[in-house]
Each structure stands twice: as C-alpha cells, then as structure tokens.
Amino acid sequence: MLFNSYTFLVFFIVVLILHYLPFSWKTKKINLLLASYIFYAAWNPPFILLLWLSTLVDYFVGKALYAQENVHKKKMLLVISLIGNLGMLCFFKYGTFLLENFTHLVNLLGADYHPAKPNIILPAGISFYTFTTLCYTIDMYKKESKPVQSLLDFSLFVTFFPHLVAGPIVRPPQLVPQFASPRQANAQQMTQGLFLLTLGLFMKVFLADGMLSGAANTAFGAADPLKTIDAWTGVLAFSGQIFCDFAGYSTCAIGIAMCLGFVLPNNFLFPYAAVGFTDFWRRWHITLSSWLRDYLYIPLGGNRNGKFRTYINLMLTMLIGGLWHGANWTFVVWGGLHGFYLWVEKAYRDSRKRTPSPVLATTGKDYIRSSMGPSFTKPVEGYFPPETNHPKNFYNLILALLTFFLVNVTWVFFRAPDFKSAWRMLRSMFVRVSNGIPVLSYLDIAKVAIIIPLLVAAHWLMRNTTILKTAGKTPWWLLGIAWSIMIILIMLSQNASSSFIYFQF
C-alpha cells in the first residue's frame, strides 16, 4: 500500500479509529499487527509468507542465541539466521544479477553457457526488513540488548507498517520498548504527525513526481548525448527527486507513527547542506549509514587496525552500501565514488591537522558513533538538530555547494540504467558535445531552476535546526497558510499513485 494512495487514506483512518477506541493495549497491538500485514499483503499477498518466516526464525533464533553459552552452538545459530536472512535477500534481490555475472564470466572463460533468464519478483521492502531482523539477531549474539519476550511485540517491531517497506531502519531498542505500555498521541503529537504526513506527501507527490521526475526521466531516457544544460538539468532534477521521494517517505512514516503515539528515528537532516561527505552521511539515510557502521564497518575492524585498513574498511562499507541499493554494478560505482570522496576528505583533514582527524582516527566504537551519524550519539526522539561543528559561514557554504556538486556526479551512476548511459550523461555534463541534442522544454528547465536552488537554500538555512522546531517558531496563521498551500498543491498534482523509488531497493 502506498502512502500516496486513496486506499492508504481509508486504511489509516480505520487504523486510527481502532487505535483510539477503548480496547486493551494487547488488543490494540494485535490490531496494529493485523493492519501491518494487510498493509503489506495489499501489494502481493503471497510474499507475506516470507515476512512471517523471517519473523519466526529470528524470534526463536534470537532467544536461543541470547541464552546459549556454548560458543560453537552460538555461532551455528548465528549462521542459521544469517543464511536465512541474507539467503532470502540474495535469492530475491541478487539472484538474477549473480546468474548474469556468472554466465558472463564462464562465457569469457570459453564455456558456452546460456541459462534461461530467471523471472524473480522482488518482494517489497525485503532489503529493509531483512536489515531490521538481522540487527536483532546480531545484537542477541553480542548480548547488546535483551531478547524480546513476546512474539507479538517482536512481530510488531519487524512489521510495524510505517517503517516496514522503506524504513527508517529501526533497531530493537528504538521501537520495542515503546510497545511495553499503552501509547496514544496527545493533541500536539497528533497535529505534528499530520503536519509531517502532509509535508512528506507534498515532497513526494508535488515535488518529486509532479515537478522533477519529468525532467529526470527525459534526460536519463535519452539515447543520444545531450546539450550541457539538458544534462545538468536532468541530473539536478534527479537529485531533487530522489531526496523528495525518499525523505518524503520517511517523513510520512515518522508522521504516521507519531499520530499513533510512536516515535521513529529520523532518516534525513537536510543533506544538501552537508559540508563534506562525512557530514553528508550523517544527514542522508541516517538509519542505513548507522546500520552499516555498526554491523559492517566495525566488525570489519573499523579504524582499529591502522590507517591502511581503515581506508579499506571504509571503501568496502561504501561498496556494499552501494550494492544494497540495487543489483547493478552502477550502484557499486556510486558507493565507490562516495568511498573515494570520504578517502579524500579524511586525507585532507589529517594532513591539515597533522594529527589524525577526529572523524576517522578515534579508536573503537565511540569514534564511529560520532562520525557516521547522529542517531546513535544520543537516543533518537523524533526530530533533533545534528551535532555539528560547521558554523553557517561563507566558507562552509562554498564547501556545502562543492559537496552538493560532487553528490550530483554520483547520482549519475545511481540513476543511469547502465554504464553506457552514465558515461554519455557525464560526457554531456562536462565536455562540450558537438552533437548534443536538446530534450527538455523551457518549462522543465524552469521548474528545476526554481525548485533546486530553493531546496538547497532551505537545507542550508535549516541545517542546524529541525522541521518541527521551525514550524514551532512560525506564527500559527502563517503556518496554517503554508500548510494549506501544501494540501492544495498535493490536490492539484493529481498524480496517479506512483511507487516510491526506494521500494525497488
């Protein structure tokens, strides 16, 4: 079920009514769990079996892991969970990709191998809920938190519909304790939740789908080299589209959960105002970057084994993070470019300070916790300002614009369907192509030329605050007018419900 659909509107009203009727807390949790299954099954009912399987395996394996003292048996249980979760993810998400690459490889080696193309459908949200359950069992293995006692609470933690299909990726300590006692939103939380839901829909329906997707699709869909202005307009349009689409989803999710009395971790903090790439990854898809930090980068050794290994671990993390986004080598290159930027930034900072940079040189988890995202520097309780040592001055503004420029280069690999298209787009952006063709109308160019600077300016102005804090400082009548404009523009967009980009991941 899409947040930007009429079905969801009706569904959400029914869920809210049930949640605020005088039932027992257990009944309300059962209602939420059933609603979450309906929410998921509304796409493709059979795939709910995978969700149940994942939930049951990890619930029982998690309990056993925590209680098991025998090291070998413990490892065996962990392997069972990893095989279950990652095996499912590999089959559905990477099965075709792996087979294609294997076929290519053996044919290069001289074999004449041409298997039938498998027709594997990707279950919605599998990357997200797999990471959610995976972190639980790993935490149990490390005894970093206590096992969830009730299957109902664990099922609801995995399946809770606001975060189920596209995050934010939640950890057990963030959500499970909230199921312990009855939760209802008060009037302020309810209004804040509805405000965030409106804002998220505005970002998705009006900005991403209505204003920006057209230019991005046309530019990236062109079969010929483009004029420089068309190439840049297309890339900037995608830059805005991917942010408004994904951050829009997260904002909706947080708002919906808030209306029910729950708090989900924040996932975006004005990333296009990031000063450098360490800062960018503190602000973009925060719950994924912190997940990769805690469950990949640190287990790889983090920065504890010297400079060289730190660089390697950082790059590996970014490459795998890239592959998480999609089964295509273009995503790996996207991650690799980000890894390279982080290398350069770290080397530059280290050389300037002549002492290891605080971002990457502190040993152990504390460094990582402070470097890769704010969500674990203190408990996430909704929107809060990031801890930042970048004051809003002209120098940092130039650095932020440089970061934004470089981020746009990476989006080319993220959006292009293959390397040929990506190179064609990069050539059109940076080389004066004599045969470049125009594909975008003046209207498309005007939309991007207005929206993207406004978006970046808004990120810069709000980089050290939050949406709700800003809303709180605005006179009520002005906020009411701005809110109504968002509702009117959503209504005027009239887009047929189109899926969120991150659903495919």
Binding site: V10, L443, W476, L479, W483
Partner: protein, 344 residues
C-alpha cells in the same frame, strides 16, 4: 509552539484547503464543465478485466482514438444487448492489445479492431508507448491499486476538478503556452472541449468544441503536425509482411479458441483523408490485411450512410455523428457479418 497554536494552524489549513477546492469546483461548474474520468492505467485495466464475458454477452473493441469517439457505447449496448468493452488507446497501434488478447488463453470473445493505418502499421515505439504500460499495469495490478481505483472512481464522479489531463497543475502549466524550445519536440495539447471521457471510455467532443472554430482549428493543426508531418515512412515489403504475419498468427490464435476478429476502418475527412488515402493505399494495406488474415472487415466508405461524414476536426466524429455511425455499424454487424448473437 504551544499545542493550541499548532492545532489552530491545522484547522486553518484544512479550512483554507477546503475553501480553495470548493471555489475551484464551483468555478469550473460555472464554466459549464461536466464530470469526466481520467483515462489512465486503472480505468483501462478495469475494462481489460471484462473481456472474459461470453461472446453472446460482450464485444471487445481495440484500436486508436477514432473508435473511442465514433462508437456510441450507450446506443450500441441499448440496441444489441451486448456489453461493450472499450480498450482502444489514442495515438497508439492496437497491435499490442491484439497480441495481449491473443496470448490470453481465457479470451474467447468477439474482437473488433479499429484500423488507422498510420498507427496500425507503425513500428515506432511511440505507437506503443501508452498501450504497453497499460497492459503491464493490468498484468501486475495489486489489491491496493484495485481498491484505490474504486475510491478514485467515486470521487471523480463527484468532482469536476479531479481531471488529471486538464486540471492538474502540470496540465495547466503546459496549457499556459510558454515558448517552445527550438529542437525539442513540442508539447502537443488538445483543448479540454475536444475530449471528455466517460466511465465506459467513450470520448466525446463538447457542444462548445463543435461551435468554436478556433478549437477545431487548433486540433486540426495538431493533426497536420502529428499525422501529415510525421517523418515515419509507411512500412512496405518485408517489414509490412512481417507485421501481417504476426497479426494473422494472433488472429488465428483467437479463432482457434472459438473467438473471432473483425477489422473496421473508421471515418476521416478533409486533409486527413487525403493524406491517408495517398500514404496508405487501400489495396496495399486494408485489402491485404483482410485477405491475408481471412477476417471480415467494414470500410466506412463502402457504405453510403457512413461515407459522407465530415469530421469536425477531420479525424473523429461528433457525438451526434457517432450515434449515426453506431446505428449503421450495428446494422452491418447484424445483417451482413452475422456478429450480433440475437438477430435484431
């Protein structure tokens, strides 16, 4: 912000948004604009699921835009007792829909294929870019999309402003006639009054369109650009034979299951007719299509009652003409082709 201020802001936003929506709705109704439905993927998918009705209960139509205007669905249903399933898609070839129905083992019905040669025999991806996504949408439709369609249909039956093609922000921006960029394919827009779509997917011109020559001229200019100015050369030789082979195979497939296919050439006039007759000579295309597939066909010019239509914008019939065309079509289907199960 104190809780009461936030709540006040929320209430104000709802009131202002309601006021804006209702004012917009009243303004459009005051302009004489009537309810119409978005002819989008869900509406097409809703009709596509109806093709499984038995042949003595329904008739399926595929084609390009002409049959959407020229077939008066209410009249057809009232006078034949058959349910019409309209699957034509404007600006597109019916061949992808024919292929889809031929590949569907459960389709055993009677199929009328509207032929506009320039589209029917086109190999351009643009002649398939609206119908293929509709087929894909139908094949992959989810329960939530079905539910959203039912709610959307209810809302569209109540509000004029819920009209994606004319009153969405993008449609209104395009309609604002901003300058066209040299070298870029221009935005081709049609006046609102040219096409109002019913829930059954019949397209109708409004009375205003039929009396306002500036509107008809605007549409005719579009045809001059899109049809007469189309650089795609008519297919010939092996390419044409390849298309005919595929069509025959698809027709045979449907017939082998007990279904049947009939081709119909719908009217055009003025410069559009002159262009089509010259670019796609009847003998080389229409006659060959019928001969090769062994299907029955109805060419409008063979019937005096249909031959004299003067289309308002040279390519489609007005609602009144559509009723006359449909009346004659029923008569031919009944008397000559034996396609109406209950003899009239």
């Amino acid at each position: 912000m104190p809780s009461s201020s936030l709540i006040k802001a929320g209430i104000l936003s709802v009131l202002l948004a309601l006021l804006a929506a209702l004012s917009w709705e009243f303004y459009l109704r005051h302009q004489g604009i009537k309810i119409a439905y978005d002819d989008n993927y869900p509406l097409w998918a809703d009709k596509r699921r109806l093709v499984y009705e038995p042949a003595d209960k329904a008739m399926v139509f595929i084609g390009s835009s002409r049959i959407k205007y020229d077939l008066d669905i209410d009249y057809f249903e009232d006078h034949t007792g058959l349910h019409v399933v309209q699957l034509a898609v404007e600006g597109n070839s019916p061949r992808p829909a024919l292929e889809n129905l031929a590949d569907d083992p459960n389709f055993k019905g009677k199929l009328v294929v509207d032929v506009t040669e320039q589209l029917f025999f086109s190999l351009s991806p643009f002649a398939e870019d609206w119908v293929r996504p509709r087929i894909k949408y139908y094949q992959n439709i989810t329960p939530t999309q079905k539910a959203s369609f039912e709610i959307d249909r209810l809302l569209e039956s109540m509000f004029v402003f819920l009209d994606d093609e004319n009153f969405s922000l993008n449609a209104m921006l395009v309609e604002a006639h901003y300058p066209q960029r040299p070298g870029v394919f221009p935005d081709i827009t049609f006046p609102l009054d040219f096409s109002r779509t019913t829930f059954q997917r019949q397209a109708k011109m409004t009375p205003r369109f039929l009396t306002d020559t500036s509107l008809t001229n605007r549409v005719m200019n579009n045809w001059r650009f899109l049809m007469v100015g189309n650089p795609e050369k008519p297919v010939r030789g092996d390419t044409l034979q390849g298309i005919l082979d595929k069509v025959k195979s698809q027709v045979d497939n449907i017939r082998s299951r007990g279904g049947d296919v009939l081709f119909v050439r719908t009217p055009c006039s003025n410069f559009v007719r002159d262009f089509e007759v010259k670019a796609f000579p009847r003998k080389e295309y229409w006659d060959r299509l019928l001969a090769y597939t062994g299907c029955k066909g109805i060419y409008y010019e063979d019937y005096p009652a249909m031959a004299q239509f003067e289309c308002p914008e040279a390519s489609h019939l007005s609602p009144a003409q559509a009723t006359i065309f449909t009346k004659n079509l029923i008569q031919i289907l009944n008397d000559e082709k034996g396609w109406i199960p209950k003899k009239l």
